[in-house]
């Protein structure tokens, strides 16, 4: 008798809480060091991206309207789910070339980073808000609000930690996003989508595509319903094109080309702040004739 034939996983993309194949039908083979094909990965298209933007825009209102406390619990739930599937991520990371120790460290750090941002969900507002002492008789205060739909081109060198580092501050701040995963190390991205899908995170808040930045960066940056873009790679030509295209609808662009993912500096409330807008509200204070603090 032959030994049991293993069931291989089909790696698909993640849009609006569903796992479709790319509408383009294209794929690229992912090979291990020996040259064996490990998986066929979706080569996402412009149309996939546009569908993902529609999903992200649809999810934005609900997600940004959640209480910070609720977002905090959901990010913590993502960490829990990731912790529970640690072994699967470690084996995928090893398949993609890491040593067992490095793989273990990367998953642990990813879980901890999610917990870190889970804690910030209901706290950064207090750090970045202000009550402004205007000279007229008005009550005036400023608070951060999420920018909207954020496109993310995640780090190329990391399969899981880069993805988590890029996504967590964006959704902790109430934005929705479309992420392009590492092209050469895409396995964990798709598996991470399964984690998200079982974490009470509403569909559409995070959408994950696999494919090539060379092909997609101009579409990510020119889409008129994307409010901001964060870029974690170092290609100077892509950076220039992204910044140029951003002017079409005054997108906010953040280039994180010097981030050391394993460092504590790769996580910060200021990374949440980057994808926030400051809103200032005024209201008159009644001035009653001769009323003074008389007691």
């Amino acid at each position: 008798m032959a030994t049991r034939l293993e069931i291989q996983k089909t790696y698909k993309i993640y849009i609006g809480g569903q796992f479709p194949r790319t509408e383009s039908g294209r794929f690229y083979p992912l090979k291990n060091k020996k040259g064996d094909i490990m998986a066929n990965i979706c080569q996402s298209s412009r149309k996939d991206f546009r569908n993902a933007v529609v999903a992200a825009r649809g999810a934005f209102g609900g997600w940004s309207g959640r209480a910070g406390f609720n977002r905090s619990q959901i990010l913590y739930r993502i960490a829990e789910m990731l912790e529970g599937r640690k072994e699967q991520f470690i084996s995928e990371l090893i398949l993609q070339g890491l040593t067992e120790k490095a793989a273990n460290d990367e998953v642990s750090l990813s879980v901890d980073r999610l917990v870190y941002y889970a804690g910030w969900c209901d706290k950064y507002q207090a750090v970045f808000s202000s009550v402004n002492p205007v000279a007229s008789s008005h009550f005036n205060f400023s608070v951060p609000e999420p920018t909207g739909v954020v496109a993310i081109i995640a780090p190329e060198e990391s399969s899981l930690l880069g993805l988590v580092t890029a996504i967590a501050p964006v959704i902790a701040g109430g934005n929705s996003c479309i992420v392009l995963a590492s092209e050469s190390k895409p396995l964990c991205a798709v598996t991470f989508a399964e984690v998200l899908n079982s974490s009470d995170l509403p569909g559409g808040v995070v959408n994950i595509l696999t494919g090539s930045s060379e092909e997609l960066h101009s579409h990510f940056s020119s889409h008129m319903d994307v409010n901001a873009l964060t870029y974690y790679r170092t290609n100077k030509n892509e950076i220039k094109t992204i910044k140029e295209n951003a002017s079409l609808n005054v997108k906010r662009i953040f280039i994180y080309d010097k981030v050391v993912l394993a460092s504590d500096k790769a996580q910060s409330p200021y990374l949440i702040f980057d994808n926030q807008e400051i809103k200032t509200t005024w209201h008159p204070i009644e001035n009653i004739g001769s009323a003074k603090a008389g007691y």
């Binding site: 402004n132 000279a135 951003a246 400051i278 509200t281």
Partner: protein, 490 residues
């Protein structure tokens, strides 16, 4: 049988009594016939050898000639700012603050002169330049001065450092105020500045340059160069500028964002707007009408955050519109130098033509046109306060920024409807809400995709209050603690 009750009483403004002229005295100001560029602490002739006329839009008369800076002049100014940066960023923060305090005081002392020149050159009524523009400009210096030696408390554990040379390009609607609210935080943060005022309104910036010179501010810390779009482009493209701060139209803002794409220059954009001003049926109607008037007719409507789209809940639309028309009828349009004037001159002929073009577009689109019946002077650029009733969301006059005294009016029934309509636009600078219900204010204000929300008030500004937009109205904040961030690196 019951006839619909009409307003028979009405308000009759056709009486004989009129305000006597109350012109502001203009004899106390000093103006030269010709202004050079202010570079490295001195007024110097432009390399271009060219000068252009600056006029009074209320009379169409020439006031003075102003130098046109070319690329070499821009380079000279940037070099002066770079040289000055070495020292300015190293003097103690406390001393830096004291220079800025001194500027604030000098401006307060010369407030009346600044106000008169602002009105002469820009057309805004003296009541506004005297009571709003100039005091606020001085306050921006006074407020930011105090930040100079306290930045580490604003951004704890972040070691805030200045960026270097800031290139600042400002518009013609609040010439002195914009200069102040850009220069003051830049200096407090330890940067040096090259500033270009708009070509139609250079004079108060040049008077400000005189004030810097007299204040003992080290040479080159602030350089003021004049010119039009070409001069601005030379600044934007100069390789040794670290930061561009621009206030102006969304179109130009986009061009700037695009042209610095290949560089590491930092950018703040404060661009156009098309604010929704929303009146609910439970609003204090008289105050709301006053707020709408202030929202759209303040500074002739040349305000990026003007409340140019009025949304009235259907049940109170008739009474609001009637009161609005009555109030419009009492607005005095005319000589900006007269202390009784409510609406002064349109800033330039070009802008007047643009407003007139939009009025034509609005009529063609089918909205109902209404203007007050006031007389306007035969000479100079003027536009009567204008309404478009029954405008629809798709009209160009609803979607595009007119930057003049033109208000579009739409009605709504439900909260959901008005939120959708208010946000369904590319801009997101400001919004207004009128209701007596606090919970409704917080609901609507949190749903407006706009950087400044005025509830039961409108068009209020303060140096302690951050200002700036969402979406295509730009990014970065000016004013308050948040306004320091764009001038610092961490």
């Amino acid at each position: 049988m019951s006839k619909k009750q009409e307003n028979k009483i009405g308000l009759d403004f056709k009486t004989d009594w009129a305000y006597a002229p109350a012109p502001e005295d203009t004899k106390h100001i000093t103006l030269q016939k010709q202004y050079d560029l202010f570079i490295d602490g001195k007024f110097v002739k432009p390399n271009s050898k060219k000068y252009f006329d600056t006029i009074n839009p209320a009379t169409e008369q020439k006031i003075a000639e102003v130098a046109e800076a070319d690329e070499k002049d821009v380079d000279k100014a940037v070099k002066a700012a770079r040289k000055a940066f070495e020292k300015w960023s190293k003097i103690s923060a406390k001393e830096r603050g004291k220079y800025i305090y001194r500027i604030a005081r000098l401006m307060q002392e010369r407030a009346r002169e600044f106000a008169v020149i602002e009105t002469m050159n820009g057309g805004k009524c003296i009541r506004e330049s005297r009571d709003i523009d100039v005091p606020l400009a001085a306050n921006h210096f006074f407020y930011n001065a105090g930040w100079a030696d306290k930045l580490e408390y604003a951004f704890p554990n972040r070691n805030p450092q200045p960026l270097g040379v800031a290139g600042q390009i400002i518009p013609w609607n609040f010439p002195l105020l914009m200069a102040a609210w850009k220069i003051a935080p830049a200096l407090a943060a330890g940067n040096t500045v090259v500033l270009k005022p708009a070509e139609t309104t250079s004079l108060t910036a040049l008077k400000l340059a005189e004030l810097f010179r007299d204040s003992g501010l080290p040479d080159g810390v602030v350089n003021i160069i004049t010119g039009a779009g070409k001069t601005g482009a030379a600044m934007v493209n100069h390789p040794d500028i670290n930061k561009i701060a621009f206030t102006g139209s969304t179109d130009v803002g986009k061009m700037i964002q695009k042209s610095i794409a290949g560089t590491d220059k930092k950018l703040t954009l404060e661009l156009g707007g098309k604010a929704a001003n929303i009146i609910f049926e439970d609003a204090p109607i008289d105050q709301a009408v006053e707020g709408v008037i202030n929202g759209i007719f303040f500074n002739q409507g040349h305000v990026c955050c003007a409340g140019s789209r009025l949304f009235i809940q259907e049940s109170v639309a008739d009474i609001v519109i009637r009161k609005l028309k009555d109030r419009m009828e009492s607005l005095i349009v005319g000589d900006p130098m007269d202390k009784n004037t409510d609406i002064g001159a349109i800033n330039s002929k070009e802008q007047l033509l643009k407003i007139q073009e939009y009025i034509k577009i609005g009529k063609n689109e089918g909205a109902d046109f209404y203007q007050s019946s006031c007389a306007i002077p035969s000479k100079g650029y003027y536009c009567r306060p204008t309404l478009f009733l029954n405008a629809s969301q798709s009209h160009r006059i609803v979607q595009e920024e007119i930057f003049g005294p033109v208000l579009t009016i739409q009605t709504f029934r439900t909260i959901e409807e008005v939120i959708e309509k208010a946000n369904n636009i590319a801009y997101g600078l400001s919004a207004g809400i009128w209701t007596d219900k606090g919970s409704k204010i917080f609901n609507i204000s949190s749903k407006m995709r706009a950087g400044v929300v005025w509830a039961n008030t409108y068009n209020k500004f303060d140096p302690a209050s951050p200002f700036g937009g969402y979406k295509e109205s730009g990014f970065g904040r000016e004013g308050g603690l948040h306004g320091l961030m764009p001038y610092l690196k961490f």
